[in-house]
């Protein structure tokens, strides 16, 4: 039997991948949009629905960035609402481990797991900066170097809290009068980050622990995922680099006593479909153009150059001046936490080689379209990607809210099913069932 593909649906995010100027673009905040996309994913028998998180609106030049979709709900709250609008679909929340405390995080995730009958997942992210911290009691108190230490200990502590109740804790025997077994919820955690003790409020959820997702790509992030995560949200969507990443991460599992199947690697990808290859290519070009308006092209340019370029002509060549390496104009973008001088040299090289205007260049270097073609061609590419060791499946990021997944579910999913590489029905009730993950081992109380 060929390897089975796992699929997740990413609700369109607050970056320029999401096209808001399309006449079919709907609300990014109305609950109906979330229900539509989630039900579409469930109709397509997807593994899970994925929500990103933002804790501070992004800024450029000291002003709130106004060119992309802005604004979203709190992820766990909207996923709890979606638990009532879906039956089998996994529900994955991105929740930061720096600006939350383990007790509250663990109880909210356990609650989602109960209320969805075992469909909860937690994407652990580690934003730490002072910019984000300005919205929180603690402020930006964490050194970048400590963010994984805190993330690891947050997750470890959450697992201790989930394990502080046994699976058979609730007795509810009217005759004997025993509601709960003794000692439920007792915990004590003493570590570098947390020194806490007491009684945990919430019984263990149906999955024991929610599915843990990790997106870090650094050496530390990869080790964290290999030791602790069930799913990696990967950014490696080109087949060659994806294979390298896949091999690298899977090879790290053995030293933690884990099998290759215990960690699913799912790159975030985009797709564009058409009745013919030509039509798909035309649609893809139109989407790329809509994703990078003239204003967005300049915004990207300014973010890399570190200079005000509002008078620059987006339809002309790149600016002659070199980037200002010290000036940081963009706050809240992970992609600009990098060597901008090197990035600018690379951009200049591409622009010169291909003779591109500024806007064309930005489209060229920022475009994230992964799979473009007829449904049959895309299905074949997805299958090849997985069968040849690129990934265990995909997190699909549609460019339109809320209908961006409709054609994929209608036209590509049946072809994957025909190929025998994607489920035609859910086989179990929980997200762990969908992903083929074992329940977390319950720690022996006497251990």
């Amino acid at each position: 039997m060929p390897k089975q593909i796992h699929l997740a649906a990413h609700f369109p995010g607050v970056n320029n991948t999401t096209v808001w100027s399309d006449p079919n673009a709907g609300s990014q905040i109305d609950i109906a949009s979330f229900v539509h996309l989630a039900r579409t994913a469930e109709r397509g028998r997807f593994d899970f629905f994925f929500l990103a998180e933002g804790l501070r609106l992004r800024e450029r030049k000291g002003l709130i960035h106004d060119l992309d979709v802005v604004g979203r709900p709190e992820s766990l709250t909207v996923l709890a609402a979606l638990a009532g609008a879906t039956e089998r679909l996994g529900l994955a929340a991105t929740v930061n481990s720096t600006f939350n405390e383990p007790y509250e995080l663990a109880r909210r995730l356990a609650t989602l797991d109960h209320l969805s009958d075992g469909r909860a997942a937690w994407n652990v992210v580690t934003s730490w900066d002072a910019f984000t911290g300005e919205n929180f009691r603690r402020g930006g108190y964490l050194d970048e170097a400590d963010r994984y230490a805190r993330a690891r200990e947050t997750l470890q502590t959450a697992r201790e809290l989930w394990d502080s109740w046994t699976d058979d804790a609730i007795v509810a025997d009217r005759e004997s009068g025993e509601f709960v077994r003794p000692g439920q919820g007792e915990f004590r955690h003493r570590g570098e980050q947390f020194d806490i003790s007491g009684l945990f409020s919430t019984p263990r959820g149906p999955q024991g622990h929610p599915v843990i997702i990790q997106a870090g790509d650094s050496e530390e992030g990869r080790e964290f995922a290999a030791s602790d995560a069930d799913v990696i949200f990967s950014r490696h969507s080109r087949l060659e680099e994806a294979r390298t990443f896949y091999k690298d991460v899977k090879s790290r599992l053995a030293k933690y006593g884990r099998a290759e199947d215990d960690l699913k690697i799912l790159p975030a990808v985009t797709f564009v479909l058409g009745a013919t290859e030509e039509e798909a290519a035309e649609r893809a070009a139109a989407i790329r153009t809509a994703q990078v308006s003239p204003q967005t092209a300049l915004a990207f340019l300014e973010s890399v150059w570190g200079r005000d370029l509002s008078d620059h002509d987006p339809d002309g060549p790149l600016p002659a001046a070199d980037p200002d390496p010290d000036e940081k104009l963009a706050k809240g973008w992970a992609r600009f936490n990098t060597d901008r001088a090197a990035l600018a040299r690379q951009w200049r090289k591409v622009a010169e080689e291909k003779n591109l205007t500024t806007r064309e260049l930005v489209i060229e270097v920022t475009s994230r379209q992964t799979f473009v073609g007829t449904p049959a061609a895309v299905a074949a590419q997805l299958d090849e990607f997985v069968q040849t060791g690129g990934s265990d499946g995909f997190i699909l990021a549609p460019h339109l809210t809320p209908g961006g997944l409709d054609d994929f579910v209608d036209e590509v999913v049946p072809l994957l099913q025909e190929r025998g590489v994607f489920r035609t029905e859910y086989t179990g009730p929980t997200l762990r069932d969908h992903l083929g993950l074992a329940a977390p081992r319950f720690p022996r109380k006497d251990a």
Partner: protein, 400 residues
């Protein structure tokens, strides 16, 4: 906004576990093995909506229930364990269409930024039916669950004792700051901030987004919220209060206050004190709506049921609220009587669930309808409208 019948009483039900009697889970009608399942709560809130109730509240605590206020009791014969109230309310958003959903949250150990976004998201998910009950978490053993601060021991039996009084007052001052932050965050996106202007490439008009720049003794928050302004603008804020300090907190921060009078005269005295508190804090605009909390057993056999549960629990039921065991007609009499003292509404805490909820929706509500003091259909689109509260403009709108 004039759709509210001034002669109608507001009716809320406080949902918690198997009901408010600690032995209620042992009644034959109880569903004690399902207390953590969505189906149980969906059934309860559907019943409440069938009864046309204004709203349901969900209790919460950052710890386990206990028969002792000051710490765990080690008992295994009562319900222990709860779900997060905001997420529970959100789970019910898509399976209800009219009833208000009002979760409690702590504001002592939580982040106002997260709480504000959570309640705003609940308001989006319910299309304008969200409320909120901020509460303090004063106990040192619960502070140890977070480990970020220590709180002094409280004298639970003497809240006026030196030390205890100051601690509680300080926590309520911090709670008022938390509500202020949340309310500013809810206003931090003006209506119409989303413009989708293709000509200029702008999705939002950023002049309509505002930093809230709150600086307080306990935290500072920059803003704006990550969540756009919600359908109600300002979801309904409610507070439970038993004393002057929390009355002032409610008068400063809330739209509705739940109180615990034990008689009509007591209700009148509390209302007078709430009005004084409003003057003290300089409240302007809409007056606080005053609710009376009652712990109720409804039906012809109510007193016998309560007595049997007391026996099972090994002690007579104790509560901050008046305990009423009687028929729907007797309860309706009390409601009519206290309304004469100025009580706007009642939050009924069912002794047993689902039994006493069914008594409320099946017997009490029809009785109140016969007397012409309760709605016969839902009329309003949002929870604020149900209380005659207009949708306020953002506080930042005038400045821009």
């Amino acid at each position: 906004m004039t759709t509210v019948h001034r002669d109608h009483v507001h009716l809320a039900v406080a949902l918690d576990g198997a009901g408010w009697h600690p032995a209620a889970w042992r009644e034959a009608s109880a569903r004690p093995a399902e207390l953590f399942s969505a189906r149980y709560w969906s059934d309860l809130v559907a019943e409440a909506e069938r009864g046309l109730l204004d709203l349901v509240t969900f209790e919460d605590l950052l710890g386990q229930q206990s028969s002792r206020l000051e710490g765990p009791d080690g008992r295994t014969d009562q319900v222990r364990g709860r779900l997060d109230a905001v997420l529970l309310a959100a789970r019910l958003a898509t399976v209800t269409s009219h009833i208000g959903l009002v979760p409690a949250t702590s504001v002592t150990h939580t982040e106002p930024f997260h709480v504000g976004a959570g309640i705003a998201s609940l308001d989006h998910a319910t299309n304008g039916r969200a409320g909120w009950r901020p509460q303090i978490t004063a106990w040192p053993h619960l502070a140890a669950h977070f480990g970020r601060r220590t709180l002094p021991d409280l004298d639970v039996h003497h809240l006026q004792a030196p030390g205890t009084r100051e601690t509680v007052a300080e926590l309520f001052a911090e709670a008022a700051d938390a509500v202020e932050v949340v309310r500013r965050l809810w206003d931090s996106w003006e209506d119409g901030a989303e413009i989708r202007d293709a000509a200029t490439g702008r999705f939002i008009d950023r002049d309509k987004l505002h930093y809230i720049d709150f600086q307080g003794a306990h935290f500072s928050v920059r803003g704006p919220s990550i969540t756009p302004r919600s359908p109600q603008g300002q979801p309904l804020v409610t507070a439970l209060a038993h004393d002057r300090v929390p009355y002032e907190f409610a008068a400063r921060s809330a739209d509705v206050v739940y109180t615990t009078p034990h008689s009509r005269a007591d209700a009148a005295a509390i209302i007078a004190e709430v009005e004084e508190a409003a003057v003290t804090v300089g409240r302007t605009g809409e007056p606080l709506r005053v609710f009376a909390d009652l712990l109720v057993f409804v039906g012809a056999d109510a007193a016998a049921r309560k007595e049997r549960l007391d026996e099972l629990d090994g002690a007579p039921l104790a509560s901050d609220a008046l305990i009423v065991a009687g028929t729907a007609a007797e309860l309706a009499d009390l409601i009519e009587d206290w309304r004469g003292a100025g009580v706007d509404g009642f939050r009924l805490r069912p002794g047993g669930l689902p039994h006493d909820l069914a008594g409320i929706t099946g017997d009490l509500v029809p009785e109140l309808q016969r007397r012409g003091i309760f709605r016969t259909a839902y009329a309003e689109a949002t929870l604020r409208e149900r209380f005659g509260l207009a949708r306020p403009a953002s506080r930042y709108a005038a400045a821009s």
